[in-house]
Amino acid sequence: MEIEGYLKKDYITNLVKQDKREDARKFDEHRKILVDNDYVKDKAPGSCFVQLGKTKVLAGISIAVGEPFSDRPNDGVMSTSTELRPMASPRFESGPPNDESIEIARVIDRGIREAGAIDTKKLLIEDNLVWIVFIDIHVLDHDGNLIDAGGIAAMSALLNTRLPKYEDGKIIYGEYSGKLPINCVPIPCTTAKIGKNLLVDPSLNEEYAMDARLTVATTDIINAMQKGGTGSFNEEEIMACVDAAFEQGNKIRKMLSTD
């Protein structure tokens, strides 16, 4: 942790002891969420720019055709990547994905995949040929809680993704044959533990101060969880995180819509 992190950690820890957050939020609230769908609509069949407070991420969907996995010959394929672009933080470097970006991508992926959010059974084109859905999450400005920001952006982009036209063995770019079939809308909710307090949607400064975090992705049930950080949670705290996730998930889900 750089010097800045140490200083912010002290500042936040003291604030939280007084039941306060730096932006005057309640402990169980997300920052303001701005959703801008179809941000790169001239090239990507689906995309969404999300601002979660000052955190900015852009999720773009690419669609290709290819072979299914041999153990699921009738199902389309999804793949999720996260790039922590170096413009987003002085700490991020150019280069291949590191453990941080891999964890973010995999947690977001699990929420979407395990909920069955994409109806992959409808993505069979013909024998041994299926649609492949790439979710690329581009982190542009890092002010904390990249999992929630990225997960919301990815899900909103998917909700608005069109399937390209496919003729004579080729994708016709810019023309579409329908919408990507979506079954449900899983939303991740991350709670940070600072001292004995639980804070939903930690900002970057709060991340410097947190002992541990717990992400819970929910639809009407739980679909994915991921604990992070070197601290620990007791059972009561974990259930509080789960309950917050259901509540916040419902609120955020209502903000997302198809065009």
């Binding site: 395990e114 049930i221 059972e235």
Partner: protein
Amino acid sequence: MSGNGDVVLIKDGKRLDGRDFDELRDIKMEVSVLERAAGSAYVEWGKNKVMVGVYGPRELHPKFLQDPTKAMLRCVYNLAPFSVDDRKKPGPDRRSVEISKVTSEALSSVVMLERFPNTVVDVFIEILQADAGTRCAGLTAASLALADAGIPMKDLIASCSAGKIQGQVVVDLMKEEDNFGECDLPMAIIPKKGEVVLLQMDGKLSRDEFKDAYKLAYDGCMKIYDLQRKTLMDSMKKFVGEGGIENGD
């Protein structure tokens, strides 16, 4: 987690391998199995075979990575190419990188890293045969290997998973249950404190099912903890006799 309803995983109230819902697979633990490593352990957990070697605290290179306030704990989880049916290409994949990260964070919660500033403690986890639950087996073995190396810890870490198969919450999934079940929930705890340091989940669980699964996994962890302590007692009388595992509170 395919939740494939066609595959029968429970028959006459028993699981495919005859286990009850709250029953762990057979487990064997051993420490000091390697010559060169500072500490080591071997765990056989069902068909899983896991070996762990620990080095350090040792100097950390390059220097700019050194933390003057504490040691770094670095973990490498590695699947041997022959440990799975379909040969795994050598080298870390995304899954291994994630498991290495969460394992390292879990171990960092108990190792007294602040005693060894500027150094690194390296934990190498080798999965020699894999049959679901390797991260729990690896973490359990890593904890033993750290104790075997005499590295001061507040407690051991004990790890176990729960899951759901055919609508039934059960403990410690084996491969078929992992492939065709509806949920996997690996967990690790600090037993003395009763708190969770690793928790992952993927699949489908209602709030109530989660509470059940949590309890099964937690109880599984406590059984593992007993085995870990017995293993250290048996094999390392001298170490434990001197009060080896430090009490951190």
